[in-house]
């Protein structure tokens, strides 16, 4: 977010000041949308990476998809099938999230 906000030209904020806008209005009306447009793909991919990284919390015992896979394979001893299916689920989740983010970007921010 900071990188996106820094990409805004100083000329834009000065034009806003010249128009008599308050700093909060300048941020909301002038800086926010171009910053979001600039960082939106990176932000979306970070979110997907975070969702994938959440599989690691199974190591400290938190209940999540990977922990469920662990318990299933511990009960049924079908290690490969369980993990393969759960990997497929994560893949579907990440593709789904990416599609949702792309749609939101197109609708709200006009990112193609």
């Amino acid at each position: 977010m900071r990188a996106g906000i820094e990409q805004c030209h100083a000329a834009q904020t000065e034009a806003g000041l010249a128009l008599g806008l308050r700093p909060l209005q300048i941020f909301r009306l002038i800086m926010l949308v171009p910053a979001l447009r600039a960082v939106y793909p990176a932000l979306a991919s970070q979110f997907v990476l975070l969702m994938l990284g959440s599989s690691v919390v199974s190591v400290i015992g938190a209940e999540d998809l990977t922990a469920t896979a662990n318990s299933i394979q511990a009960r049924t001893f079908r290690t490969f099938e369980t993990y393969f299916i759960v990997t497929g689920l994560y893949l579907a989740l990440s593709l789904g999230f990416r599609a949702v983010f792309a749609a939101v970007g197109r609708l709200l921010l006009g990112i193609r």
Binding site: S54, V59, Y83, Y90, L91
Partner: protein
């Protein structure tokens, strides 16, 4: 060793993936795109599980180390391939056309003209976006969570892993989570310091990193509980506690006049619980490598010194 192999393998795979992603032949692009989407779309932990159990199911005998090396190489290769693909695509088309007009084929165009110019974009990508240092960081973080100390050979892994230390925390879940998060943050910072190199003059104080010899990934969590020598008067043995397992022998603690800390054994505190009197019970490792048990006598941390 594992991270070195993963880094090298990932570099090779990433280069191949980047070249295939920008190939003029469409099926090659699809293959590389499918590889990157698959690896980037699934968690690393599950990729390792699938590789290890799947290979053994099909009949190929792989040991854990080989499966981990292969999995980490694939993972690193996918991310590096995307970064380098961006760098290849950032080279202007005029360079390709100039190389074509010299009569070079596609391979030579790529090798002689385009890839040397990607260094410009790769460097900027490495500084602003996650680059190879970040990938190495991720593999080292996974490495650390699995409890393998990369500086020691495989037969001399005598420290408790972070996972075992969290299991030892028992009911103290909050402490376990806190220890893990702090340790991960410190490891993160240490690895960033390490990948950034030695400190350079002229930077702001917040940017001036410590020298790499201090910012070692193992020297995380050197919060030290110290007991003064007077602890023996209460019938409790004096011990110096270090939260970090990997650097017991390099624990730095502040000594004050009147403390004879030279002959005080250093104990890792991560496997201990607090009892009602404020002492410590449990078991852990001494710096000399011996096992210490609190049934030898409870200890009282009198003073806590935070290092770094």
């Amino acid at each position: 060793m594992l991270s070195a192999v993963a880094f090298a393998g990932g570099g090779v795979l990433g280069l191949i993936a980047a070249i295939l992603r920008t190939a003029p032949v469409a099926p090659l692009r699809w293959v590389a795109s499918a590889y990157v989407q698959l690896i980037q779309g699934t968690p690393l932990l599950l990729q390792l599980f699938v590789l290890y159990f799947g290979a053994n199911l099909v009949g190929i005998r792989v040991d854990a180390w080989s499966a981990a090396a292969l999995g980490l190489s694939l993972y690193t290769g996918a991310f590096l391939g995307e970064i380098w693909r961006g760098a290849i695509e950032a080279v202007p088309v005029s360079q390709w056309e100039a190389a074509r007009s010299l009569g070079l084929g596609y391979g030579l165009q790529l090798l002689l003209i385009v890839i040397p110019q990607t260094v410009r974009f790769r460097d900027s990508a490495h500084h602003r976006l996650p680059g190879p240092g970040y990938q190495e960081h991720l593999t080292r973080l996974d490495h650390w969570l699995r409890g393998v100390d990369p500086d020691r050979p495989a037969g001399q892994q005598r420290h408790l892993s972070a996972i075992a230390c969290i299991r030892d925390c028992g009911d103290d879940v909050f402490r376990a989570v806190l220890a893990l998060s702090i340790a991960a943050q410190r490891l993160n910072g240490a690895l960033i310091c390490r990948s950034a190199g030695p400190s350079r003059p002229g930077l702001a104080p917040t940017q001036r990193f410590r020298s790499p010899s201090r910012a070692r990934p193992g020297s995380i969590m050197t919060i030290v509980y110290r007991t003064l020598a007077t602890g023996t008067e209460n019938g409790r043995a004096p011990l110096v506690f270090v939260e970090d397992h990997s650097r017991l022998e390099a624990a730095r603690f502040r000594s004050e006049p009147g403390d004879n800390v030279e002959d005080v054994p250093v104990l890792s505190a991560a496997g201990l619980h607090s009892d009602r009197a404020g002492g410590k019970t449990g078991a852990g490792w001494l710096a000399s490598g011996e096992r210490w048990d609190s049934r030898d006598g409870p200890v009282t941390p009198v003073k806590r010194v935070r290092d770094q």
